[in-house]
Every structure is written in C-alpha cells, then in structure tokens.
Symmetry: C2
Subunit: 410 residues, 2 copies
C-alpha cells in the first residue's frame, strides 16, 4: 500500500460517511443542492476564473498544446453554460426507485428497487468543468464521490469544489464531504483511485486512448469496475438505396468535430456501388479537408483516427457485401460504439439494425447523436462499450444504482 493508496482510501472513507446524509434525503434537497451549485457558479466566478488563469498560465509555461489548453480554460461563457446544465439537471424528474415484482405464496411482497452505489470514483484530465458535471450527477443519484483530475486542472477543480460544490451541499443541508477532490497532482493518484474495490467499487473514466485503457486494465486487476470507452470510432454503411443528398449530409454531420469518439471513422461502402459512389464520397471528404484511407489498408479496419495524433482528418473506406456483412464488420472490427446505415430501403435498414451488436444503431441519422444528452435529454456520466449486461452506451445518473430485492410481509 502506497501513500497515495492510503490517501485515496481516506477520501473514500470520508465520502462513505458523508453518503449516509444523502441516502434518505428528499428529492427536493438533491435538486436544491444542484440549483445551489448553479447560483454559486455565478457568485464565485471571479475566484474560479482567477484559479483558471493560474492553471492556464502554468500550462502555457509547460508547453501544453493549444488544443489541451482550450479544454483547460474556463471563461465567463463556459461558466454560464455549466450553470445552465446544472439548472437543467435540477429539473429532471426523479424516478420511482421501487416496484413490486411479485407476491409469494405466503402473501409476502417482492420489491425490486434501486439503491445508491455509495462512493463512485471519477478520473478526468485537463477539463475542470467535469468536476461540476460529475459532482452534480452523483448528488442527483444519491452517491458520494472521489474525484481526481490532472495536475494542470487541479487549481480550477479545487476552486469549483471549494467555492461551488461544498457550500451548495452545505446550504441544502447535505454533508459537504460528499464530494472529495484528490489534491495530489501526482499522476499515480489515478492508479490509486482504482485500487479500492471495497470502498470505491466503480470508477468513471472520462477520456479515451491508451491512458484510459491502462487505467481500465489496472482497475480490472484490482476488482474495480469502470465505466469507460478507451476506444470509439463510429461506422457508416452506405447501402445501394442510399439517397445521395442524405449520404453527403451524414458524412458532413459525422465529421463536424474530429476529436470526438462518435465521429465518422469507418465508412463501409456497398460493393455494388463502389465505382459509382466512391468518387462522390471522396470529393465530399476532400471538401471537408479529410483524407480517405482506401484499400489495401495497412492498419486495422477499426483504427481510430481521432486518437491518431496529426492524422485526425482521415476516414477509412472499405467495401462490404451488404447490410448484414456491414453490421458484422462494424460490430467486430471496431469498439462497437455506434453505426448508421444510409438507405431509403426500410427492409435493409431493419436488417442492418438487427445485425449490429454495438451500443447505438441509427438509420439515416448521424452517429454524433450517440450522447447521453442528445439521446436521453439528461447529462452524460460517461460512455461504456462493454459487451456485458449493465449500463452500456451513454450512461446517465439513472444508471448509478445497485439492484436490490426486498421481501416484506404482505
């Protein structure tokens, strides 16, 4: 056990103790705490922006890339946006957590219900706004949390916890210790966060790529479950009955941002239309400044360009034999995040949808819609691409629960 492990365990114990204040709190109290965060974001803006400026200056001095610095920076408009999201979350209705499933022969009632997990971990790098995002969703789901962010964002994250989260919890009558922020800038704190299966059984890993993959593996070795998607990359299958304008529109919509997990990454073109449609698609990609990767491929078919530094503006194109073959390729050769079929043929759409095994499948719609807020109207806790039962695809606060059965006399 390292010092960092002991530090994390200490945070987790404090969070667990505080969690007892939220399990039976009124729904209204939770929403008051979240609304209170929205109000405090405004009141504390000068302090938060000063902390952000210090983080950004330090990052610039250390040579951080402009793209990462952009993620790191908080400004008045971003604080305003965070406040808006909080107000929206506060208004999402709470669902009944308990339902009667059966009456036993002796008259006993069997109830199935959802209870909080207890303490949930979250790791995220240079995006200080995730602090508020995760904290508010944990409060909405009656969980406590141990949050860990990268050294670059630590000043801003600490300001958000100290000036916004903790006082808003206290104002609502909840224990401000509910949301713990790891104050060590040490990179190894992320690993220590996934070493405590008894105290922190679930950790949300924001981000993607190798660092997420290595954290997810470390967690698995320690018996800690993660909600994560190290890999993304969406697929599009172009069927012979595709409408050309719809196709070009969806190629554009799928590439409005290149660094995101649900962007168009692999375009599967029906071999019957390879000769007729390939030039049209390539021309469209070129108009967007995107390079097609054509066969024969020297990379895995599912290679994720969003994670390939400097080659983000690439889309893999490959021929396929039909809807089922396309769906299987998209399922087996990629992370299985999302896939769409472009066609005006309803039977082909049904065939593709039913053969795809990933987390989201779309018909004449962009895979960019695979997002908790866009799909479900509530903020996204994270995305999970595991091929096992449980929360999968966009995960929201509603998923941060444990199943429990209750038997009481009838």
């Amino acid at each position: 056990v390292t010092d960092l492990d002991a530090t994390i365990a200490d945070h987790a114990r404090r969070a667990r103790e505080a969690a007892r204040s939220i399990v039976h709190a009124d729904d209204k109290v939770l929403d008051e705490a979240i609304s209170g965060m929205a109000a405090r974001i405004v009141d504390a803006a000068p302090t938060i922006l000063a902390a952000s400026t210090r983080d950004v200056e330090a990052a610039e001095a250390s040579g951080m890339s402009p793209a990462l610095i952009d993620r790191l920076r908080l400004d008045a408009a971003r604080l305003e946006a965070i406040g808006g999201q909080l107000r929206q979350l506060a208004e999402v209705p709470h669902r009944a957590a308990e339902r009667e499933v059966r009456t036993l022969d002796d008259g006993s009632k069997v109830l199935e219900r959802e209870i909080p997990i207890g303490v949930v971990g979250a790791n995220y790098e240079a995006r200080p706004n995730v602090t508020i995002d995760v904290a508010s969703q944990l409060v909405k789901s009656r969980n406590a949390g141990v949050l860990r962010t990268g050294a670059a964002a630590l000043g801003s994250a600490a300001a958000l916890v100290d000036e916004v989260v903790a006082p808003a919890l206290a104002d609502a009558g909840l224990d401000p210790q509910l949301i713990q922020l790891v104050r060590q800038p040490d990179r190894d704190a992320a690993f220590a966060l996934v070493h405590q299966p008894e105290l922190i059984p679930l950790v949300i890993l924001r981000g993607s790529g190798d660092s997420t993959r290595s954290l997810a593996n470390e967690a698995a070795r320690h018996g800690v479950r993660t909600l994560a998607h190290a890999d993304g990359g969406a697929s599009m299958y172009v069927h012979p009955a595709a409408d050309r304008d719809t196709l070009l529109g969806l190629v554009g919509a799928g590439l409005d941002r290149l660094g995101v997990c649900n962007r168009l990454n692999l375009l599967l073109l029906d071999e019957a239309e390879w000769d007729s449609l390939l030039p049209v698609i390539v021309e469209k990609l070129e108009s967007l400044g995107v390079t097609p990767s054509l066969p024969p491929h020297t990379h895995r078919l599912g290679h994720e360009w969003a994670l390939d530094d400097g080659k983000e503006a690439t889309v893999t194109i490959s021929p396929v034999a039909g809807p089922t073959a396309a769906a299987r390729t998209a399922t087996e050769e990629t992370s299985g995040l999302a896939a769409t079929i472009v066609t005006d043929d309803a039977a082909a759409a049904r065939e593709f949808i039913d053969a795809y095994g990933g987390t989201g499948v779309f018909w004449n719609r962009t895979t960019r819609v695979l997002d908790g807020f866009k799909l479900l109207g509530v903020p996204e806790t994270g995305i999970n691409v595991d091929r096992v039962p449980g929360p999968r695809g966009p995960v929201t606060f509603r998923d941060l629960v444990l199943r429990q059965f209750v038997v009481v006399p009838g």
Copy 2:
C-alpha cells in the same frame, strides 16, 4: 496462448457462428427447443443414466467424498425434476425487448432495447444437471454458450449435450452448435474459459469459495466479466420487538441446509436483549445440532461457515446497537448477499431495510428465499454480489442481455 486457449477460442467461434441462427428466431422456436429438451430427457434416460453410473463409479474409485458424489449422481427422479424445470421455463412468457424512450427534435424515435450478448461461458464442477440448466437459459435468452464442467461430471454432461440439448435444438430448427461443451477434462480449461474477452465477454461461475474466487480474479485480469459469488453467508438481526416464535422459526428456516450460500451465517442480536434472548437462541441452535460462535471472535465476523469444511454447523452471534448498526455490519462485514430483520416494529424494519446495501433484504422472512426461482419464479442463472450497476442478486435469463439504443426516422 496455450492449446487449451486455442480449444476454447475454437468452441467460442463455432458458438458465435451458430448464435446467428437464434438472434431472430421466433419466441415459439426457443420454447419448442426447451420443451424438446424435456421430452428427450425422458427418451434418452437409459443412455444418460449409464453415463452417470460410469462417472459415479470412477469418482468412487478416486475417493471422492459422499457429499460430492451425491451432487454428481443423476437418477430417474432427478431427470424427472430437470424435465419439469424445462417445461416450466418453456412456459415463461417472453418480454418485449424494445421500448420507445424519446422523440428527438427532428422527429426521430429513440428506442432502448435488449439484444443477446452472443456467446456466454459457464463453469461448474461436479453437477451435471447444470449443463441442462444453463443451456436452456441461454437458449431462452437467445445466447450461445461454451460450457465447461469438471472431469468427474464430463461423461454425464456430454451425454446430456449429445442426447438432449443438440438434438432438441436441431428439431426446433436451431443450430445444434449453439451449446458447446468443452471435452477436455483438464482443470486448466476453466482458466482458459476466462481468457477470451472478445469471444466470451461474460462467464457464469457456479459454485463458491476459493476456486470461484481464483477464477473470478483470473477473468478480471483478462477483461472478462463474471457473474459469481465466491462468498455468501446471510445475516439476521434480532430486534428487541422480535416475536419469539417468529425468531425461532426463522432460525430454523435459515438453517434447513448448511452448505448453501443463503443460509443463516451471522446472527446480530440487539445488545438490549443480549442477556434475555441469547440463551433462547443458543438452545434453539443446539436443538438443531448447530454450535454458536460467541464473542470474543477469533475469526472475521462475516466468516462463512458453509465453506469451512467440517465446521458447517456453526453460526456466529454478535451484539449490535440497533437496526442501522446491524444493517451496516451486515453490509460491510459480509459478502452482502442477504439479511433479514426479525421484529414486529414496522419503523425498525424500514430503518434496517433502508440501511442495508446487500442484494436482498427481508423482514420476518428467511434469507433462504434469496434465490431466482423462489423470488422471481424463473430459474436462476447464478447469483452476483458485485456492488456495481447491472445484474445483482439472483440473475435470471432475463439479465443475459446487452443494452442498445436505436434511432430511426419518426
């Protein structure tokens, strides 16, 4: 990659290919296959019983304990019981796998649905009947499977697959390769079964104790999810308002079998009644041939007697301060499988129920009811005590699904 790993991967690929025959099969076809298994259990009884006799004779020659041999043996009555369970499963109605959750601004419909996992693994030791149990539940949930059993049960398990499962699948028009049985008697095949996250993302581990724990750890290291409970052991809290007859009845009901995971293992007696009720409880235990383990304890409070060879007939007794303290002790010091409160005070019952975090919580009812069939009326695939979202407590075929979102034009 060992030879066994390659063998398992080969089984998994054949199962995955066969799974394509079941994804879109009519519900009726699934139930026909399961009813067909029930019919064939009768027709093939002589062959199955002959195989069982050979297994039992070999086990006796190897010096297997009588208790294990009893689990291993199939006889006419047991085959009849298996047939009855199959007929019951065939009659369980299928649920709608798809529901509309939202309409997007552009009129698109968002559907949430359940799709099969694909290939599910199962490992079980000397209980050949689990072969039919797991195979039928996989068919009901439209999954394929790779089943592995211990060397002692392999002859009977093979007879059940070859004479019952495969022909019943074929009769119903399904691919008999759907259910693969690993034919290697090698103990390491169990480890190889949890080495294939891409092909077999989920493995059901029947049984408990160290062997299950080590398999679950091996699976986690390889990124394979398991449904398992290495540890069980239920708790009972005796409140001052307990009715004495109810209490004695529940002590007896909780100890009707000593080798099962949901039996009474830890009795928490309210300290206010320690002096008055301890003698009554100890007398009751002694009448059942069960020894109380009284404080000061030299073992962990949650030590599971069912797994302590030769000491199964023991119950730990410990004082607690009240309903909340009892629920926390039961949650934190045991596997969190199940707990019950004995009281006639509804407020105390509510307090205990709401403070307990395990998978099943009961009021004046025995924890022996924590069982898929008893609670939910459908066969139990396994029990899972993970403290994370997803199937938890008794797992049934209904849980062997993946969540998927579908977006289609409105």
